[in-house]
Symmetry: C2
Subunit: 527 residues, 2 copies
Amino acid sequence: MITGKNYIGNSLSSKGNKTFTTFNPLLNSENQTIFNEASDEEINEAVQLASEAFNKFRMISGKEKAIFLNAIADEILALDDALIQVYCSETGLSEGRAKGERGRTVFQLRIFADLVAEGSWVNATIDTAIPERTPLPKADLRKMLIPLGPVVVFGASNFPLAYSTAGGDTAAALAAGCPVIVKSHPMHAGTGELVSFAIIKAAKKTGMPNGVFSNLNSSGIEVGVALVNHPQVKAVGFTGSIKGGRALLDLAAKRDEPIPVFAEMGSINPVIILPQALKNRQESLAKTYAGSITLGTGQFCTNPGLIIGIKGENLQHFIQNIGREIVKIHPSVMLHPNIHNAYKKNKNTLISQSDIEIVSEYEGELRMHHAQQVITTVEGKTFLENPTLHQEVFGPFSLVVQCDDAKQLKKIISQLEGQLTGTIIAEQTEISVYSDIIAALQLRVGRIIYNGVPTGVEVCPSMVHGGPYPSSTDSRFTAVGVDSINRWVRPFSFQNWPNQLLPDELKNDNPLHIVRSIDGRRTKEKI
Amino acid sequence: MITGKNYIGNSLSSKGNKTFTTFNPLLNSENQTIFNEASDEEINEAVQLASEAFNKFRMISGKEKAIFLNAIADEILALDDALIQVYCSETGLSEGRAKGERGRTVFQLRIFADLVAEGSWVNATIDTAIPERTPLPKADLRKMLIPLGPVVVFGASNFPLAYSTAGGDTAAALAAGCPVIVKSHPMHAGTGELVSFAIIKAAKKTGMPNGVFSNLNSSGIEVGVALVNHPQVKAVGFTGSIKGGRALLDLAAKRDEPIPVFAEMGSINPVIILPQALKNRQESLAKTYAGSITLGTGQFCTNPGLIIGIKGENLQHFIQNIGREIVKIHPSVMLHPNIHNAYKKNKNTLISQSDIEIVSEYEGELRMHHAQQVITTVEGKTFLENPTLHQEVFGPFSLVVQCDDAKQLKKIISQLEGQLTGTIIAEQTEISVYSDIIAALQLRVGRIIYNGVPTGVEVCPSMVHGGPYPSSTDSRFTAVGVDSINRWVRPFSFQNWPNQLLPDELKNDNPLHIVRSIDGRRTKEKI
């Protein structure tokens, strides 16, 4: 069923000469399908088709887009076991995780379908005319959100379904009315092709224009670079490393017409454990955090890579306990040998820094491509002085920082780079004492958690997944939840526009029955 | 009353050695005050103060911010004639225009005051916990908009009040909770200092932290460059040329931590006159457009610099008429000799292109620094082939393009650079015939106008002032209207956060009585 070809709109295509395969880390062997990397010609065809499709797709009603999005969800489910098997064979992840992630992907498609079927998300705002106003009459002005144009989505290595081909970025862009060109992630190109098959099938079934979706294979950087530089591409979504995200941001910034790049990048997700909580709960915290650090082999962007406390007996006990707990957990396989090699390299770089102490590392036998989990610790002063220690080690790794006092803790927080999340572990009684530390943490993160773990990103309207640079390239937007649609739209204003020519969202009689703001009042009323 | 010094927070300061003066274009002479350009030390002091002020200012309630914004408006009005006189002496603009612009400035401050006093703008979104959910319990998540940090605002040459020191950018940033550092425009540094005096007086009266506002003088690019590069600056607002805006965007993109630059830049604001309208109304249109082109000596960013029609007798009559009408209007003075020189240079560059025909130019005697209004015309084919003809000539200038047919007209629209506005002049009967042209125009602009003129930018919620690049650097935001506050904020999420520690906007009992979204329902109810 998997051909190894690209989808250029509705057509399978393999004009390029460069090929590659995916890898099964559990079997330590290459998977069979040979994938054809997209050629320059295919890239241009895909963007050209997307650009033409945009002229039709942007005019399609919310209800029709909802039918399309729900059909994608249905077709993904219809792939059934074939999808789960390919997913597992390309990632080493379990069937349970595959099904869970498929559930999240389908859920995301359906909530965006609901959003656009209902229709009020366009934020229709109407100021009616005041012809008799002096000295100048007031014009009738009506505003709504409209799509930007073709969007390029880069598949994420760690979420082959939920943040790749038909993941959050794609669902949000299609919901907004933007055609999508996916640069498929080379590590799960087969999963990507199967999901693309589902999307194309859904697009055909629901009468969407050819070019509303394309899927391009690539094993290197060339396809991505060509896409970001293409004049007809209007925005980019990316989930991955800081290096990769920054490279795309820099490319986009240098274009004749700069375009927005929404990159969700690295984060070490600092966790601050305050003294009373440490005293009362260090044992259970050690167990909980050993679990959070090793969840999904530490391959989540919200993995807690940094735990900070104030020096003392309780912190010592916590460190010993989390060290003991983490090695009790059975090691698991990483997504790909490249990712495992990067983990080993980054872990070793960190461990080799001066004054870093290894608390514990898994010492049993490790199966091929399985990650050795490690807990390390360092003094606050050393951490402050060495920015290498602030860098993400993508995998089941965490660094516990022992601060001299609250003042040093605050200094560390104030000097941290931007993060997706920050966590405060505290007893209620001690929070007011450390309010300035909490305030400082807020400035560095997009989401703050009380007495929990940062892993587990709920898909709901009040989620913020994003944060100050370098956790994301634009802290003004979230990558998770329905508000992520705002990345792919712009406001547009009609002045004195004839009623029958207005989009339905702005017509006098409100045929879509959406909530609108009319002269400052939110209402579903007609004008 | 004007000292020529910088405001570093609440203190007047003049540590630098570089000085400059402003110029009265009507009198053709330098004004008396000698201004001290801000030194590197002063720049650092201002940003450091802003950064410290941010820690307090971001916690201040909406009601208190409203009192501050209204106090700024009051203090600006209290400057009375002193402000109007300096304004006129630094711009050559009339007293009527000065008062009109002051009114707009005060109005903007007050609508932002109303917005933050009411408080619902933070878009509070709450998803309550579902502890019994399986397989995993759902956390309590609460989201709202929070300020980005210190913002740098560049004063605009053509709006010394409404888009400068206490203009739209500053009002929106202060309303959001961001301290502002203004890089004062050198052509109206006196106006800038007076308004800064009003802001500082208001800040002191209402107990705002020192550093919530600073005003830095500069005659060259150094101060602006240093500000945009400063690590503690978190966003930039600019109104001016494409060259200037792009330079700032490029600087900001190269920072270790890239920051958003919201630059509202050039636009030629295409006006399409469809054949029936041309036939029925060419005489009155010629009169109306001669007025729009020369309004404010053509120094508005929405000035109609490009008029497009389909070749024929009616278009010929229109061209002759607008040529006749424009020279009937008495020439007026430009803001500054530099702007007048740029006008002459850009106009001559355009006129010197092949196959450009001058329809009419004012031929009476011109007083010093007064602009000669000019109407030119060109064939559609020539326009398509020569991108120089697409460039803005800032001043009372317009180019009428004569297309062979509707197909060529559509091609011209499709190839146009991004614009703030586009205008369709039509009879209702002919609109459906040209629907593809209208659709193409929509893709190139931020606001589309029916049977009107693009000049006159209403300050209201449904206004979009911004558009695809290069009319602005980020089409996802507007620079005019209360929604412009969204440029300076980011969403922030609290997970399982203790109620008493939440900001008032997100507390269970909704003490601010704002509209919130709770589990998908918009309500003012408590939880």
